[in-house]
């Protein structure tokens, strides 16, 4: 049962990341990978909101939303791959790669922390 919830959340999370990536990358904001950035920030914020009130939600929330949906909506592999690709584009590319790392880490941790404090009290 728990595994089923993880898998349903994982399917929906990956689907959302794919659609967000497609939608955001149509905007003329290159070269930063805004789709991955958006997915990672959103997933971290949502996980923070849930974790802040840990213990106060029904049992399905953890496997379905935290492990499944937030885990699959966010990604480390694509983040690393895109950072490497940026870095391989000369000195300007390296600056973009550094900016991608700084922005993702700062905004991702910031979003988690924000969710943690805004979430329902335990």
């Amino acid at each position: 049962m728990t595994l089923m919830l993880v898998m349903i959340g994982g399917a929906l999370g990956a689907l959302c990341r794919f659609l967000v990536d497609r939608a955001v990358n149509l905007l003329p904001f290159r070269p930063l990978p805004w789709g991955t950035i958006t997915a990672n920030i959103t997933g971290s914020l949502l996980l923070g909101l849930i974790s802040g009130g840990a213990g106060s939600q029904p049992g399905w929330v953890g496997p379905l939303i935290a492990t499944g949906f937030c885990g699959a909506l966010t990604t480390y592999s694509t983040f690393s791959y895109e950072t490497l690709r940026l870095a391989q584009n000369g000195p300007t590319g390296r600056n973009w790669a550094l900016l991608n790392v700084a922005a993702t880490l700062a905004a991702g941790f910031g979003a988690f922390g924000l969710g943690w404090y805004l979430g329902p009290a335990p």
Binding site: A11, L12, T67, S80, V101
Partner: protein, 134 residues
């Protein structure tokens, strides 16, 4: 600016199926190898580094060879994207920092970041260069 193209339903299906499998594998690994409270999150680190190496190899393979069009969305976006996670990384790092375990938190932060980039490079280089057949 280009208009959004219609997404083929089979692409959506393989992304979702891959995400389910990737998340299940991550759940299995973290359940089998739990992190003690405020301990070093080894399972998530290994998951993320392994996923990075495999994505590097996959992307190198599909950009230098012809492959089935569903392969990148299934294996890359779906399985590896669902397997690796940024939210758990942020969560575990945050909990270490707020509990005062700053050095361990920094070590985890840097190990995943530097290790992930190195793992992608290793994955890319593990696949031999070959020109796509015309």
């Amino acid at each position: 600016m280009s208009r959004p193209r219609q997404v083929a339903p089979d692409v959506l299906l393989v992304v979702a199926a891959g995400g389910a499998l990737g998340a299940a594998a991550r759940y299995g690994l973290t359940t089998a190898w739990p992190t003690p409270p405020l301990g070093f999150p080894w399972a998530t680190l290994v998951i993320n580094l392994l996923g990075c190496a495999l994505l590097g190899a996959l992307m190198q393979a599909v950009t230098t060879r012809s492959s089935h069009r569903l392969l990148p969305p299934f294996l890359g976006t779906g399985i590896l994207g669902g397997f690796t996670t940024f939210s758990a990384y942020a969560s575990e790092g945050w909990q270490l920092f707020t509990a005062g375990r700053t050095a361990l938190g920094m070590a985890y932060l840097v190990a995943t970041l530097a290790g992930g980039l190195a793992a992608v490079r290793i994955g890319v280089r593990a696949v031999p260069q070959r020109q796509k057949q015309p």
